[in-house]
Symmetry: C2
Subunit: 560 residues, 2 copies
Amino acid sequence: MSKYSIGLDFGTNSCRSVIIDISDGRELGTTVFDYPSGELGILTDPSDPNVARQNPQDYIDGLKFVITGSLEEARVNDPEFDANEVIGIGVDTTGSTPVPIDESGTPLALSDKFKNNLNAMVWLWKDHTAHAEAAEITSKAEELRPQYLAKCGGTYSSEWWWSKILHLKRCAPEVFDSAHSFVEHCDYIPALLAGNTDPSSIKRSVCAAGHKAMYSHEWGGLPDKEFLNELDPAFSDLRDRLFSEAFSSEKSAGNLCKEWAQRTGLVEGTPIAVGAFDCHMGAVACGVKEGVLTKILGTSTCDIAVMPNTKALDDVPGVCGIVDGSVLPGHYGIEAGQSAVGDIFLWLVNNLVPDSYGASTDDKFVKMEEMMSESSPGSSGLLALDWNNGNRTILVDVRLSGLLVGQTLQTKAHEIYRAYIEATAFGALTIINRIEEYGVPINEVVTTGGLAVKNDTLMQIYADVLNRPLKVAISDQTCAVGAAMFGASCSGDYQISELQNNCSKVREEIYNPNSDHVAVYKDLYSLYLELHDSFGTGEWQGNLSGVMKKLIGIREAQRS
Amino acid sequence: MSKYSIGLDFGTNSCRSVIIDISDGRELGTTVFDYPSGELGILTDPSDPNVARQNPQDYIDGLKFVITGSLEEARVNDPEFDANEVIGIGVDTTGSTPVPIDESGTPLALSDKFKNNLNAMVWLWKDHTAHAEAAEITSKAEELRPQYLAKCGGTYSSEWWWSKILHLKRCAPEVFDSAHSFVEHCDYIPALLAGNTDPSSIKRSVCAAGHKAMYSHEWGGLPDKEFLNELDPAFSDLRDRLFSEAFSSEKSAGNLCKEWAQRTGLVEGTPIAVGAFDCHMGAVACGVKEGVLTKILGTSTCDIAVMPNTKALDDVPGVCGIVDGSVLPGHYGIEAGQSAVGDIFLWLVNNLVPDSYGASTDDKFVKMEEMMSESSPGSSGLLALDWNNGNRTILVDVRLSGLLVGQTLQTKAHEIYRAYIEATAFGALTIINRIEEYGVPINEVVTTGGLAVKNDTLMQIYADVLNRPLKVAISDQTCAVGAAMFGASCSGDYQISELQNNCSKVREEIYNPNSDHVAVYKDLYSLYLELHDSFGTGEWQGNLSGVMKKLIGIREAQRS
């Protein structure tokens, strides 16, 4: 008799669930719920493009909808499926996505007092309002606790836990004062399902705490009170109302409570895995292991690499942290990523591509990809930086912007699209190079996400730029599958390594580098690096007078 | 009884004539002839975007058409008009636009042997095929004859006389060998009208020779044979078949021959002024004088300033030459310009502006200008370099390209359009600053050309960036009017200064700088200069890590 597990994946615009057969990863049922609030689920502020919040009610409504929906679908797809055989629940979410909560663990945003207050909502990962606080935390940690900073890449980000809470304290002190505690989205959902949201007993994710909240066993958990007091006197008290220990996701966060069992049709008492971030669980479903980098290629990207924790590993500057157990048991998890990839292409096609390419967004993409397949690398003479939404790794700087160089009076929209694809690939290569420099080998890349399965042109360009074979995970919802794998693991009967052998599969088609293209991209990448370092770092010295001339030279060589 | 003069203006895509009343500049008749050959009159080569040639037959056909047409129109507009009272003919053309000619002065391209040979055609000013030869001439002159180079701005351009002839010698020796001599377009037309195209007796323009062919009284005319021999052994012989003296345009190049009098209806014997380049004669019709810079604002721009030749004037690096008498008698003429202005806007609107702005090119421009009038300087966070077609002044480098920085995921097409308008204005300011640095005051700017009369938004941005009042010449065809003024002057009865008092008028509306905008543009210009110097010069040292952050800071300040 088969056994099943259910994975719940909370993304930026929607949440979904998937039910897998843990013997082979077969997906029996999937349901998606689009968040109804705001614009595609995001609450924004017209006066400040940095604001990105969410309504926690969307999570609660979605939770019931996707679990019941996927159970129903599983029954339709496989008459032998039995909900009683779902042996575990796993949860992943975006992050760092902190939720201000009251003493009972209820989000402030659900109360009458705060239901219309944007600052009391959930602070979505891509909220960038706290950039000044991030700079301040970086600077104070540099001076007072360099070890905290080294562990999270050398720069503390505006997307992360303490920056957001500090900004909340300053911009909306009445909300901060009303918050008894804060919880990551990925910790809130398991606690809700377990029927115990008491802030002091919520099991916290080491993935979230380690990558975003400066948590480490090395210094006894969260940052010490003296340091937190330097950020804000209220923070040393707050520390007592947060948590002292965090757990990896093969551990259980609790068991399904009666109320949520009745609501969803799952069995009361089903074990629930400690939550983690989406790309970390997705990486496991992609088969992440030593030597393999996994990359979720969507509106933004998230890259995950691992190293056995039996080996010595230096801190890697610029990455989003190195945390023991954040991805695989017994391994350091290394997280990195790009703030915008698919988002850049969407911006381009929706704002700067004339209708001669097609009437709809999709038509335009198809036509542009068709046209660029007839051209060779470098033949447009264009080069771009992929920073339209800042640079997460390796510069950790939201106050950067896009750049395009090499335009003539003949430049076409599809050439610009190609330049942006290449720019995001160069950004991806910069991340890989940085991780390898610090002793973590990356021999192949396994991708997943919308772009990986839909965009052949992009995938070949990535293989050529990265000069590594590119594989594509078999599932269309790897994060949810990864969550389901942890759900199965936290029952105690299965090891993650065993589940990876059974469930983490890739498609047959592999994108292999084309050696002619590799050579051209090597030249273009050296120019990308000049732009990257000159615009992105204060250390670089020189001028860029060779860039345009070399681009013209490459263009001429490629066209002749 | 009124007296009249006729001006003939040969542009890039068409030629035109205008008949003026020399007592007040009133325009009686105008006719335009679109060159029928190639694409908008330009012969191109699909395999090399640098090629831009013209068919000399277009000039000959146009010459008859525009003169007869404008005489007819003058008769219609003013019954008192009498063609016998046209006392002079002036001619301006683009340049450097050399024509390979045989022993009789007939263009090789008109012969059966060469009529289909692109290299035997007229080499239009904007042909950039000779960039390697330009670099070679610059380098040899730097070493052997620095004085030649200093007089033409320190860098010899691919758009100029010797570069083009040297490239012809190398790429098509059979054409070079068949050419007895070469003549500038502006010297060919007066010679043709005078019925004497014998290469040894064609009166050559000091404007063309001085600005483009390294001609100066200081070294006895054209470059010496020893130097020319260094460029190519054939060049020292060629020098004997060119010319030893060049003249300014208040001098006569000859008198209208019987044949062309019969063809056109003008009086045989009418004096014809020595030719000059379009923007030089246009400057005179705009009222150029000490302290006033004139700017022809079209697909590209041409800037002209003057200084009395009684004052000492240092060589100005980066300008297109300083030539005594090239604009006004008794004055040094200083030419400068931008390789693409309106051409950049046309490229943008035709390639990167979606139909949501409008169905036609004009509709899109109108809508974008309307939308940008609601925004303030710097509020988009964008900054561009205006080098899509290289940089003529002050860098004299065709191997440069466009650049746009500051894009986010919200950037709109009309914001990019504004950034490009601003970039061309910053390029214009860079030229003015360079000229002023060398002691030539620029207190106001008089503009003419399509953009000056059609684009209010652009004109206000230019006034704000240049921080000077901007005036617009009254005529829509200032170059032809300027040519007519020289036609009148070469009769010997009128001084140019007197004709300027009568005919060089500006419109009532003046664009005055807005002080709030001036302050923002000062900040943006300092960032433009960083990009300009880092990408455009080998000397600059530093990094550009402040640029994106300052642009974001300005954007935030302007939006709040």
